[in-house]
């Protein structure tokens, strides 16, 4: 069984690249695993963690805020706007960011004018949700 070539690319540069035995992706329709020889598939990703496995063991976990995956039998390319190794996430900084995001959202809700601020509120809520997912992943690891 040949290995899968895994690539995680962000606009500002390549985050990770290398051979892997299996990759798990937080796909739109639920978590999915990709093994070498997978049928060609394209999917959008949800915020979540990508797992890179080699010889049946987890070797790397990467957090993405969403993106796209292009799966071919011999490779798996993930495009993400922001990506980070789970081991590199700073728990304290994250807690601070969550507090900030919550405050910003609370501020937007308090000052809410109907209609006009709805989009902004949704945006803030989405940003907060991403941070909360990130925290959950960090705690689980």
């Amino acid at each position: 069984m040949s290995a899968l070539h895994f690539e995680l690319i962000a606009p500002e540069g390549m985050v990770a690249a290398g051979a892997a035995g299996m990759v798990t992706l937080p796909a739109e329709m639920g978590e999915m695993g990709v093994l070498p020889g997978h049928v060609p598939l394209m999917t959008s990703l949800q915020p979540g963690a990508i797992g890179v496995y080699d010889n049946g063991k987890l070797v790397d976990r990467l957090f993405v805020t969403g993106g796209f995956a292009d799966v071919q039998p011999d490779r798996c390319t993930v495009l993400a706007e922001a990506a980070e190794k789970v081991s590199n996430i700073d728990a304290e900084k994250l807690t601070g960011q969550i507090a900030e995001a919550e405050a910003a959202l609370a501020g937007a809700v308090a000052a809410a004018l109907p209609g006009a601020d709805e989009a902004k509120k949704q945006h803030l809520q989405a940003a907060l949700n991403i941070l909360l997912i990130k925290q959950k992943i960090l705690q689980a690891s």
Binding site: P11, A27, P40, M42, S44, F68, E81
Partner: protein
């Protein structure tokens, strides 16, 4: 004939100018290198995204749900031009070239009876276009990439653009920016963003591909990303071109200052000699008269 003192001051001031221009040249050179590195780093993402887009559009059966970013609004009445210039001058014809092309486009489009709107990225473009087309400028982004050009900045511009598109403010959108060819040459390029023009060669469709949830849904998410990514790569090209243009301009300025110093020094020495000769003649004739 300027006096010796004046010449000396003049030489001093040109020497100072030369110091500044040569320092600016070196700063531009180091910034250019950074920009080029960033441009190279962004390339894998851009190519992978383009490949996905090609595959998707090739597998898509166009219907009424097809995103408007791909098919257009069905009209071409309002054109939005995104004008990318620098915030600062002293970079040769860099800003002027973009502005010249923009003017030409505006005139051509207006000649066809189309409505034109301008979105300026960079202060210089706005300043130069404000006099003639001030009423067309809908928004200006200043200080883009002042500290360090980031994807977030491209995202801010992209979001602004997409909001305007969803609000129906324009039908067609093009970018006008300098494409980096080499340090010596930057080519003004016009790139259409909306509706997105799919590359003609569709060799990406080799195998039948599964889509999750489905092609149209992915495309709906991918196209806005594409706008932002195109914006980002144009910003990088533009920033690299700016530094390249500035480097060339400052190199020329440094060389000119050098030439000027040589000329002024020659003048200075001639005047000094003439002055000494004159004084000697005066002393000798004075001594003879006694």
């Amino acid at each position: 004939m300027p006096s010796l003192k004046e010449l000396k001051n003049r030489i001093g001031s040109v020497k100072n100018t030369r110091k500044i221009t040569s320092a600016m040249k070196m700063v531009a050179a180091s910034k250019l290198r950074r920009m080029q590195e960033m441009a190279i780093a962004s390339r894998p993402y851009t190519t992978a995204l383009a490949r996905m887009l090609d595959t998707l559009t090739a597998n898509l059966v166009p219907d009424s749900d097809t995103p408007k970013l791909l098919t257009g609004t069905g009209k071409a009445d309002v054109h939005l031009l995104v004008v990318m210039t620098a915030d600062r001058g002293l970079c040769g014809a860099y800003n002027a070239n973009v502005v010249k092309e923009t003017r030409r486009r505006i005139r051509a489009l207006q000649g066809e009876g189309k409505q034109v709107k301008l979105l300026c990225v960079g202060r210089k473009g706005r300043d130069l276009l404000r006099r003639d087309f001030g009423s067309l400028i809908v928004h200006t982004f200043d200080d883009v990439g002042r500290k360090r050009l980031s994807y977030a900045e491209a995202e801010a511009i992209g979001t602004n653009l997409l909001t305007r598109f969803e609000a129906g403010e324009f039908d067609v959108c093009s970018l006008v920016f300098n494409q980096f060819k080499s340090v010596l040459s930057q080519v003004v390029t016009v790139k259409q963003l909306v509706p997105w023009q799919v590359a003609a060669n569709q060799n990406a469709v080799a195998a039948p591909i599964e889509f999750e949830p489905d092609a149209a849904a992915i495309l709906g998410q991918l196209l806005p990303k594409n706008v932002t990514v195109q914006m980002y790569s144009a910003l990088l090209e533009s920033a690299a071109s700016e530094q390249g243009a500035r480097m060339t301009a400052m190199d020329n300025a440094t060389r000119n200052a050098g030439d000027m110093i040589t000329r002024l020094t020659l003048n200075y020495n001639r005047s000094r000699q003439a002055f000494i000769t004159k004084e000697l003649i005066e002393i000798i004739s004075g001594a003879e008269a006694v």
